[in-house]
């Protein structure tokens, strides 16, 4: 038996290119459906975990999927905007605790999440260093965001303009990093958290500027009258909120009309949640309320359907590959006729030859399966890094 294994192994080793191609093909056939299954199952678990941890989401009427992806995973697509008054009305209802979200801006690739201090408790986010944001212009970074941007407590980050040619629009705001969060292994790790009012400053809805009554602002003043001072756009606006200028920052008009992308509503109990949902049933309501759980469930159904299509395609390819492999074996028997005759001449019977060929097939299958298993483990362990580095970058 040892001799048969030796002969089979030597044959495969001698024809290393043929063996490698066979092993690679069979490995892919095994790995693709198994790996895909691992990916889909894991993704389902993670998507559902965050969705289940977010009881209700209120947003402007529009795509529920866009709302969930932006609010839970900070995706690039910004949903329809809603008014801050929606958060106030939830407080007034006494049915739930509202947590406002304004996820629209970025600092390089990192999402800037405008929210309130309640968010950190809601998501159970703990500080690794520093403190929570206390003042306008302060931010706290998720662990991965701090690492990617190479900043720590005491440094600063700058918001990015929405487009490269946004010269007259949103000014970059330099924000002080006052805290870095411990890793949470969720999208929160990649985010920069600021107070929602700081997000409004980024948008230009709140601003701080030089005192127009002072002489140094004279160049920006168009006219002075009994009723007030009118200045042109050259008035110096501050692009960083500091201890010395924070008192000049102000918001105009009713904050209730200021924009949000969503409000997470944490109901007092199940009954309160149902009553709250009932308030958005009215067809004329400008906002919608959704259970992220349901939306993610639908999304997973879609992903599962895609997975089924891919698996079906892989099965067809697998049949073709197995047929090709069988053909390769049959053809190789012809090429190996003299080798088989030589084995017969030196005393090897039909059984020996058959055993040797079978051993070759088993070795190829074992090698392919081992590699497929290794790849599946790697997918489970390092898939995120690989996809982030080679696909999303």
């Amino acid at each position: 038996m040892k001799g048969i294994f030796y002969l089979a192994w030597r044959y495969l080793a001698y024809n290393r290119w043929k063996t490698s191609i066979l092993v690679g093909s069979i490995m892919l056939i095994i790995y693709l459906p198994v790996g895909l299954n691992v990916v889909v199952e894991e993704s389902g678990e993670h998507l559902m975990a965050r969705a289940e941890a977010t009881p209700l989401l209120v947003g402007a009427k529009g795509s529920p999927l866009e709302l969930v992806l932006n609010s839970l995973y900070f995706s690039l697509e910004t949903p329809e905007l809603m008014d801050y008054a929606a958060a106030t009305s939830i407080i007034e209802s006494g049915l739930a605790e509202p947590i406002p979200l304004y996820v629209r801006f970025r600092s390089r690739e990192q999402p800037i999440v405008g929210t309130s201090i309640e968010y950190f408790g809601f998501r159970d986010l703990q500080l690794a260093s520093g403190r929570m944001p206390a003042l306008l212009g302060e931010c706290v970074l998720g662990a991965a965001a701090a690492e990617t941007l190479g900043v720590t407590v005491g440094d600063s980050v700058v918001s990015s303009p929405e487009t490269a040619f946004d010269l007259a629009g949103i000014y970059p705001l330099k924000m002080s990093v006052v805290g870095v969060l411990a890793p949470n292994f969720t999208p929160d790790d990649d985010a920069i958290f600021i107070d929602v009012k700081t997000a409004w400053v980024i948008e230009g809805l709140g601003h701080g500027h030089q005192d127009l009554a002072r002489p140094e602002a004279a160049a920006a003043v168009l006219r002075r009258s009994k009723d007030g001072i009118v200045a042109n756009a050259s008035v110096v606006q501050f692009n960083q909120i500091t201890e010395s200028n924070i008192d000049t920052f102000h918001f105009h008009g009713d904050l209730g009309g200021y924009p949000l992308t969503a409000v997470v509503a944490v109901p007092n109990d199940q009954k309160s949640g149902v009553i709250l949902m009932g308030r958005y049933v009215d067809g004329e309501a400008r906002n919608q309320i959704i259970r992220p759980n349901d939306v993610v469930d639908d999304l997973l159904d879609t992903i599962l359907t895609i997975q089924q299509f891919i698996v079906a395609a892989v099965i067809i390819v697998a049949i073709a590959t197995i047929a090709t492999a069988a053909l390769v074996f049959l053809l190789s028997l012809r090429l190996r006729r003299s080798e088989i005759e030589t084995i017969g001449k030196i005393g090897g019977g039909r059984w020996h030859v058959a055993s040797m060929l079978l051993t070759e097939i088993i070795i190829v299958l074992i090698l392919s399966s081992s590699l497929a298993l290794g790849l599946t483990v790697l997918t489970w362990r390092y898939g995120s890094t690989i996809i982030e580095r080679f696909v999303l970058s």
Binding site: E97, A134, V178, A213, D247, H252
Partner: protein, 307 residues
């Protein structure tokens, strides 16, 4: 299918995170038992809250003594303390402007004048300016010493009561009992102030500072506010201005936020003006409490009307 492939990739990305999520089921419940941790932005609200909550609440008012809480700005560490509170009682009406630029838990903020917004007094003479896409806008303000109208003070106390009941419904009866006592005392002080003000018989009075708007309106005082500091001797220009005011507004009483300097008091007396102290009580007095301040003010006004 707009997000199509991106969604799949994102789900794959999320799936491949090795450690499991540490998120737990959310809850909106604040601790429903134990001592209520209450922070306020001025002393009157701290006083009202403490009177209502008694020993079942810990009321904090972190403004240092001798500082006007209306214009004081706490540092980040103090704001972090505010963030930990179960309730943050705000005066509203633009009082404690730092609140607008601080990160505070919105669901735990209680604006005690939100229910009486129509009774707030706007301040005129603000700067209007125009720049950028938003057009004309102004930095208008609102008079904020609301509690000097004891009727409004009572409404603010009621707002405090409502917030406390929402936070601790099981203690409602206890809170309402304590509130009833406070209500009676505030109504009594209000009646005394009405009576004292009536004795002035619409004669002109001066206010040393423009913080008595609600007081003047509630008690129908014919008042004019100058801008004098009790611990500073007014400059000559201010005396000249005062004499000009007196020609139109022949006041015999000036109501001060705290005792003026003896020289100031004497010089006013020479002009026939009696100095009377009615401390607004924005910050905690060294002795006594808010109602003691009101009672002292009532006595002083009554004393002045007898002269």
């Amino acid at each position: 299918m707009r997000a199509g492939f991106g969604l799949l990739l994102m789900s794959m990305l999320l799936a491949c995170t090795p450690e499991s999520s540490r998120e737990s089921a959310p809850t909106s419940e604040t601790a429903s038992s134990g001592i209520l941790n209450i922070y306020t932005v001025n002393y009157p609200l701290a006083y009202m809250a403490q009177r209502i909550v008694g020993s079942t609440g810990d009321v904090s008012f972190p403004t240092p003594p001798d500082v006007d809480p209306a214009t004081w700005s706490p540092g980040p560490e103090t704001i972090i303390d505010y963030q930990q509170a179960d309730l943050i009682l705000l005066n509203g009406a633009g009082y404690a402007a730092w609140v607008a630029n601080a990160s505070l838990p919105r669901s735990r903020l209680v604006d005690t004048t939100a229910g009486i917004a129509d009774r707030l007094i706007p301040i005129e003479s603000s700067v209007t300016h125009s720049h950028g896409p938003t057009g004309d806008h102004s930095h208008s303000g609102t008079a904020f010493t609301t509690w000097l109208d004891l009727e409004i003070a009572l409404e603010q106390a009621r707002a405090v009561l409502d917030a406390l009941v929402r936070a601790r419904p099981e203690q409602e009866e206890e809170f309402r009992r304590a509130f009833a006592t406070l209500e009676a005392e505030l109504q009594d002080a209000d009646a005394q102030l009405i009576a004292a003000a009536r004795k002035l018989n619409n004669q002109p009075v001066l206010f040393s500072h423009p913080v008595y708007q609600y007081f003047a309106r509630r008690y129908e005082l014919n008042g004019y506010a100058v801008h004098w500091e009790p611990d500073e001797l007014p400059e000559d220009a201010l005396w000249v201005q005062l004499k000009a005011v007196l020609r139109e507004h022949p006041a015999k009483i000036m109501i001060w936020e705290s005792d003026p300097l003896p020289e100031t008091r004497q010089r006013l007396l020479k002009l026939g003006i009696e100095s009377v102290v009615l401390q607004p009580g924005g910050n905690k007095p060294p002795e006594g409490d808010l109602l003691d301040l009101f009672r002292a003010g009532i006595s002083a006004i009554e004393g002045a009307t007898k002269i």
